[in-house]
Amino acid sequence: METADAVVIGGGVIGTSVAYRLAKERKVILLERKEIGGQTSGNCDKAIILQSKKPGFPIKLAKASRRIYDQLEEELETSIEYNKNGGMILIEKEEHLNFMKKFVDRQNKAGLRVKLIDAKEAKAFQPYLSDNLVGATYSTEDAEVNPLLLTQAFSRAARRSGVDIRLYTEVVGIDCQNGRVVGVKTDRGYISTELVINAAGPFAGEIAEMVGVPLTIIPRRGVILISEKVPPMIHGNILCSQYIAAKHQSEEYGKAPPFGIGLSLGQTDSGNLLIGGSREFTGYNKEINPELLASIASHAIRMVPSLGNVQIIRSMIGFRPFTGNGLPIIDEVPGVQGFVIAAGHEGDGIALAPITGILVASLVAGESNYKDLLEPLKLKTE
């Protein structure tokens, strides 16, 4: 019978990062239903934005992950187009100015350097911005990465470390005996193991159900437009205050816009612009309508009018794993020994992938060095 020290379920950015870290000490098998990075991790933007996170623990977690990024290209022995170009949140309306001021204050108190700048300063940094903006926030701590390269880099590094990656292999059941995991059933055979990492992203709920654990991770759909290659026109990443409102959707920010539209704009090294995006709860429905695409485009053009002269070559649809509290779950399920969840990163999977791998490795090794980061990520049982 086939055996492994650990089975990682899911070949996205989280699963590959976790498998890579676990492989240092274990024989690991990674199971992926389709292709590496083919779902959520291959249909997202490229921002590693810290200043959009909620002040407090989310910022602390993001900063810990961001520090790992600084050495990641060296460690993974490949370029992931990681750039510390800073990030900007545009403020389009006077009524957003107040809450953005408060937001910036709280970020600075949480130890994140964010500056409120006026429209003129913003335009000096990003020459293609609209003249109608009220101002912007700017942080040098924001960065960007190519998510496709990142997932491939983790996957290759994992392979080099001995991880057995199996594509087109679907998990159909998880075998438990006396409250502990003993094996994984796949459509291509049985693997005996005492450790399973559920890194199935938006599908993590379906996997958790196999051990009888209800997990409320639901898919939140995000649509992003991709432009033709154009000369460099965007430095770092640009969000807008409406994005912050849509992301946190708190009462104080007012009513959510249609389709949850908020700007997220970045440019790849090859010149393509990634123009986001929407945030909607529509299940796994991939059908979209022209209004949605038009809304994303017209919102972006309002902030960066020159985008009106750029051709869109395609759009992508990603399902982000939404947990409800803006944080992922990284925890061993109580009562099911050996079943660990590392999922629910919503739109922060790219930003948090490096730390997630390390946290899972620390958790399963029973170490206490990351207790402060793991504690708030525990599974809430009610």
């Binding site: 293609y128 033709e228 290659k229 154009v230 000369p231 026109m233 010149g271 020159s306 002269n309 750029v310 051709q311």
Partner: protein, 101 residues
């Protein structure tokens, strides 16, 4: 060079119109595409690639490969093989510094 006196096909008639390419004036036949009009004047280079700055011209001729992109009256990425020449058009070969956003 144009083909005249085809043994099988009827000769094509058409009024001549004037257009500008990279600052020079040329004549085209009414109804023909930018790519055909330029090739009739032996002009093959329509743009330069973004990274290596290598010259590019017509490849597929049916709008699929996007190699023949030109800048037309300020509009970027117009396909020369699908777009008809119109009187007094201003066309510029596409290169990085010619893109205006």
């Amino acid at each position: 060079m144009r083909i005249s006196n085809h043994p099988v096909l009827e000769n094509t008639a058409g009024d001549e119109i004037e257009f500008t390419f990279d600052g020079k004036k040329y004549l085209a036949k009414q109804g023909e595409t930018i790519a055909a009009a330029l090739l009739a004047h032996n002009i093959r280079i329509l743009r330069y690639s973004m990274k290596e700055k290598r010259p590019r011209g017509i490849y597929c001729g049916i709008g699929h490969c996007y190699e023949c992109r030109v800048l037309l009256d300020g509009q970027v990425s117009v396909r020369a093989c699908l777009t008809r020449v119109r009187d007094n058009m201003t066309i510029v070969s596409e290169r990085e510094d010619s893109n205006e956003f």
